[in-house]
Amino acid sequence: MIKKILIANRGEIAIRVMNTCREMGIKTVAVYSEADRTSLHTQYADEAYCIGPAPSNESYLNTDKILEVAMKTGADAIHPGYGFLSENANFAEQCQKEGITFIGPDAYAINTMGDKITARKTMTAAGVPVVPGTAEPITDIDAAVKKIMEIGLPVMIKASAGGGGKGMRLVEKEEDILSSVQGAKSEALAAFGNDSVYIEKYISSPHHIEFQILADKHGNCIHLFERECSVQRRHQKVVEETPSPIMTPKVRQEMGQHAVAAAKAVNYSGAGTIEFITDDNLNYYFLEMNTRLQVEHPITEQVVGIDLVREQIKIADGEKLSVKQEELSQHGHAIEMRIYAEDPDNNFMPNPGTIHHIQFPLGPGIRHDTYVHNGYKIPIYYDPMISKLVVWGNNRMEAIDRMKRALSGFRISGVKTSIPFLSRILEIDDFKKGRYTTHFIPKNEEELQKRETCTEDGENIAAITAFVAFQNQLQKQIVSSPNVVSSKWKEFGRKKAVTRL
């Protein structure tokens, strides 16, 4: 029985894991870097140990030190969260050697899925579709043309030695095949001294759709349906939703079966995610598997009603899955938006600093996974994501309206955040209609950069407010006003104020 878990992570995900541990009556051990003494995860756990200086490789990636704390505190298991050590096969093995349960799959599954070529071969063998293309480089023109006809248009021809777009050709029409192959080869030869090429199916309107799976150590595996993660900026997910607005029940069932097959092919156990690239016609191909809890896992929890961290812990503890595939269904619609401390009006520059004041949106359909609070100084060493705002609605439109409401009531001051940018996403027609691909953000760049302005009355009132703040400042500097009514609270306020300095 797992009775104590060390959480080898920080930020919102550490808090997230600790919440479920508390609910299960499991004690928690936090580890923290010197930069994180003030971080909520350090203070939220039952126990907390410093494991090194701020840089991750000296603390959150310091496997020896983390294992030492686990041994010392008598932790039965380690939850790696996402990032850091979560997909580190060596660490999983180290844990096993020390008799500590690693909450995640075994090293074999991590290694197999971690290497692109091995993963592709394993998936092909398991009957999971992969992006059609050549497995080996081709030099012969006829063989190339034959391969293209096999794959079907459109295709992308890429120089095997290539890079920087040289020797690349997109072929969309049949009459262009021969000339494109010739062109790519001669360009590749000129650029790299090597005219061999790869050919790959080109997905012109790609959607990033992933499936959540859960597998126990007794050979049972289920999927918890899809997440649509196509709204991305520089390959970073920005918005996730489930169900996907383009999904059909038939394709969902097929993809789910393939996701389960993918997990079974590596004898997977725990929670994992199979990412598929999908086109507008719902042709889908295995992209990769994330062998850990995903940042965006809450939207699945909201719609399927399963606590994924609880399941992870139960699986790690050797329990059988308690739900069957046919018992699961999707209920309503959930959207997650990732809130970063960054300046969307200044090329998304990270914007660490101290949070003066934070006001969370509350009320129906709002879930909030965060670790920041009033007065918290966001450290400069780690990911600038400060919170995940998740909404649930009875249907997609209700969820979007709720997210708008939530963002409008979410006020953080002291640091700039991506909130204004996220609000603008919700206003874009393609998003509202659910017709978007991974090109969504570049495609709508102009509209997404629009700035709102204040009315003239608003500006003038703001000026009067600034003046009042100025006057208040002056008054307090000159004289501390006499108290007409003696008030304990006022005194308390004064004491607090003094302590703050």
Binding site: A341, N351, C454, G458, T465, F467, V468
Partner: protein, 167 residues
């Protein structure tokens, strides 16, 4: 007392007509505003004007400058009184170009590419600073001589903190 007030670069005449606890009456460029203005938490203000709600955060900056965050945007507001008018005129002559390099946000000094006394050409990078895994290069605008380097590699720095002074 009459002031001027600079709202995002627009200078307007400003006068407080009356103030009695929450009730404030002020004139800006001839228009009178009667406000019910409340500081709900330090720096947070709720204002009711003609029944409409306005929620602002006021962040004091140096001198008499304030940043006011509205629900839509952030305004830079400066109170201009006799003193600041005088200071402004005086400063204008002295500070035609920045006397030092600083960064707009906190971070860590990754690399310093110059030494004290060194002459650098306009456009040359003098320091590299990282914040949240992103590195930024800071360059001089025109030819300068390095007077003093106030930080060293590895230092954690605040935003707007002078890092390198010029002659």
């Amino acid at each position: 007392m009459s002031y001027q007030i600079d709202i995002n670069g627009n200078i307007k005449d400003f006068e407080i007509l009356n103030r009695n606890e929450n009730s404030i009456s002020a004139r800006i460029d001839g228009k009178v505003y009667d406000l019910d203005l409340l500081e709900t938490e330090p720096g947070l203000f709720n204002i009711i004007y003609k029944g409409k709600n306005y929620n602002f955060e006021v962040i004091p900056k140096e001198n008499k400058t304030f940043q006011v965050a509205t629900s839509k945007n952030t305004l830079e507001i400066e109170i201009i009184d006799a003193e600041s008018r005088y200071m402004k005129n005086r400063k204008g002559a002295e500070e035609e170009d920045a006397a030092y390099i600083s960064t707009p946000m906190p971070g860590q000094v990754v690399k310093i590419l110059v030494e004290e006394g060194q002459e650098v050409k306009g456009g040359e990078t003098v320091i590299i600073v990282s914040a949240m895994k992103m590195e930024s290069e800071y360059k001089v605008v025109k030819d300068r001589i390095i007077k003093e380097i106030l930080v060293k590699e590895g230092d954690n720095i605040e935003g707007d903190q002078p890092l390198i002074l010029f002659e």
